[in-house]
Symmetry: C2
Subunit: 117 residues, 2 copies
């Protein structure tokens, strides 16, 4: 792994629960999922080069794909102007979603504008 920008890391803002939302995007451009990271899971992500999240429902660190094999290799981590959202570009080795879909957003559509179809 290339060195992390330590000054940039210090600019990150974790919420009252110590978490930050992480948007995961395939290098194809498809948004795959959004999950939460703790400072520890972000450090693990940087250490191993694969996404590691914090499960709010189970209150535990979760290495994505450790069980299923569908890991996400981190290509780039950006964060937004407020420092409170991460955008992570990944190379995925399988479906992001537990349903077997490429993206967790493949499931349901709330609205499609008429002029796009």
């Amino acid at each position: 792994m290339s060195p992390v920008d330590k000054e940039a890391f210090a600019d990150l803002k974790f919420d009252a629960q110590g978490l930050i939302p992480a948007i995961v995007q395939s290098i194809s451009g498809r948004v795959l999922m959004m999950a939460w990271m703790s400072e520890e899971s972000l450090r693990m992500t940087l250490e191993i080069g694969e996404t590691v999240f914090f499960s709010r429902s189970r209150s535990e660190i979760w290495h994505k794909g450790k069980a299923s094999g569908n890991t996400q290799k981190v290509q780039k981590i950006e964060f937004d102007c407020d420092g409170d959202v991460l955008l992570i570009q990944v190379l995925e080795s399988g479906p992001a979603c537990h349903t077997g879909s490429e993206s967790c957003f493949d499931v349901e559509t709330l609205f499609i504008a008429e002029d796009t179809e």
Copy 2:
């Protein structure tokens, strides 16, 4: 606007504060920002066809671009397998970020993998 899928709307899960995260993506594929929507701001979004958020810091509804002119015309709204994150594709009429950048994620990079460059 085309009709909203009312059954899909009922599947959405707002958090304890009545909010849901909304990832905003340009039809170019670039992720522009993440902000929060209340049920009311989501209904307004669907009504006017432009993104309307809920500002957690100001505790108020916020029609993106109302002041700056940099509105976001909604093309598609998807949500994830848990029903607790929105992904909104938009046609933007100007920069998404208050800094003047196209994307709120143009500002800082925490990490870039060596094999991507």
